[in-house]
């Protein structure tokens, strides 16, 4: 068998052409949506975002299509970014084929929690709603559809990262968003495709380029359905772990982190040496089914 026996994945393969999906995981990883900002009294900021849910067929591993439900035509949806204390208005339009919502993790009133039966509840096909709340607490959070059946609405692609920066920010870094996700294209209740940011093996063939000694900050989330845990492991390095990103003090120095469904961590590291360094799920089944990538460290 050709290919690396460590990865169990043969050489000679490639990734999905980003033009097919209309989004590129190599860009998604550094794409942060700060919304449309407007200053408020007291030095605060109002940020407005637009999210539209619609159905879209995407390619998740070369040659295999999946009928996804998306926010703004991509999976994961836009990475919503703001600062603690910002006032947020997320205008949501349901242009899909099923009732959807947006449920944000964070602290807010129940009427904007995006669950059926409370406040606006389900947003019917063709309807729209604006979720308004104050951004708190700082950290790495999620947003996702909360319609029933919940697993179906999430596993089809209706989710994204929601980053609230501390008021004074974090130290400057090369920042990366990695959404661990998976797909069950044959609906046998067993995922066949695992990835970071949707396309299996993408970062193996399009390595994430970073600079030697520069601080790298990874916003790591796990939205995988059907499997209770996931994990992230890096080769040739260790990282500081900030669980949920809600503290500025790390609680662990390690090379592997395990996440349950919906769990998040902010990871910080520097690469002392140039070269190629793999990262992947240390649940090796997931790695062999697509959750595998590479850092390319350059001067």
């Amino acid at each position: 068998m050709s290919g690396s026996m460590h990865t169990g994945f043969a050489e000679g393969r490639t990734t999905v052409d980003p033009a097919v999906n209309g989004f590129d995981p190599s860009l998604v990883i550094r794409d942060f949506d700060w919304g449309n900002p407007r200053p408020l009294s007291g030095g605060r900021t109002l940020r407005r975002y637009e999210l539209v849910a619609y159905d879209k067929e995407i390619e998740i591993v070369p040659g295999v299509k999946f009928k996804a439900w998306t926010y703004n035509g991509r999976v994961p949806g836009p990475t919503i970014r703001c600062r603690e204390g910002d006032e947020l208005e997320i205008h949501f339009v349901n242009a899909g084929t099923h009732p959807h919502t947006i449920h944000f993790h964070g602290i807010h009133r129940d009427v904007v929690d995006g669950v059926p039966g409370i406040g606006a509840g389900l947003i019917d096909v063709g309807d729209e709603f604006t979720y308004s709340f104050t951004a708190e607490p700082f950290g790495l959070h999620l947003y996702h559809c909360h319609s029933s059946p919940l697993a179906e609405h999430i596993s089809k692609g209706l989710y994204g990262a929601f980053i609230i920066d501390p008021k004074d920010g974090r130290p400057p870094a090369d920042e990366l968003m990695m959404m661990q996700n998976a797909f069950d294209p044959n609906f046998n209740e067993d995922n066949e495709v695992y990835a970071v940011n949707t396309v299996a093996f993408h970062y193996l063939y399009r390595p994430v380029r970073v600079k030697r000694d520069e601080l790298v900050r990874i916003y790591l989330l796990n939205i995988v359905e059907l499997d209770p845990i996931n994990s992230f492991h890096i080769h040739g390095n260790f990282f500081q772990r900030f669980p949920t990103g809600t503290s500025l003090e790390p609680n662990e120095y390690t090379d592997t982190v395990v996440q349950g469904q919906g769990q998040r961590d902010v990871l910080e590291l520097r690469f002392p040496y140039t070269g190629q360094y793999m990262f992947h799920a240390h649940k090796t089944e997931f790695a062999s089914l697509g959750w595998m990538g590479m850092f390319e460290v350059v001067e």
Partner: protein, 115 residues
């Protein structure tokens, strides 16, 4: 068997092959199935059969939860050769993923025994 494999694309990429081939059949392993498997050194050769008229494409092959390279047969043949270092006496679950995401599933219970 009325199977008539039509080779659509065979792409040579680097050291290995990614092959896509069309075959008459449906989805979910219902209308297309693996007729038998032949174990050869370093690879598993599957013979497919179908009883449907529509054409689907096999885009990816999975053996024991790992994507593997495979090579489709020449036009008119029904074989798919999966590159896999199988071990005598062990079992293998195989999924052929079609372009639509459906799969053709097959299990080798005891490698080395006639299948």
């Amino acid at each position: 068997m009325k199977l008539a494999i039509a080779l659509i694309v065979v792409a040579l990429l680097g050291a290995g092959f990614v092959a896509m081939h069309g075959m008459p059949g449906g989805s979910g392993g219902v209308e297309v199935k693996v007729k038998h498997a032949k174990l050869e050194p370093g690879r598993i050769v599957l013979t497919l059969e179908s009883h449907a008229d529509n054409v689907v494409s096999v885009a990816q092959a999975i053996v024991n939860d790992s994507y593997v390279n495979f090579l489709a047969g020449t036009p008119g043949e029904a074989d798919i050769a999966l590159e896999y270092p199988w071990i005598e006496g062990e079992s293998y679950e195989i999924e052929l993923l079609t372009s639509t995401g459906s799969s053709v599933d097959f299990e080798i219970e005891d490698a080395g025994e006639p299948t």
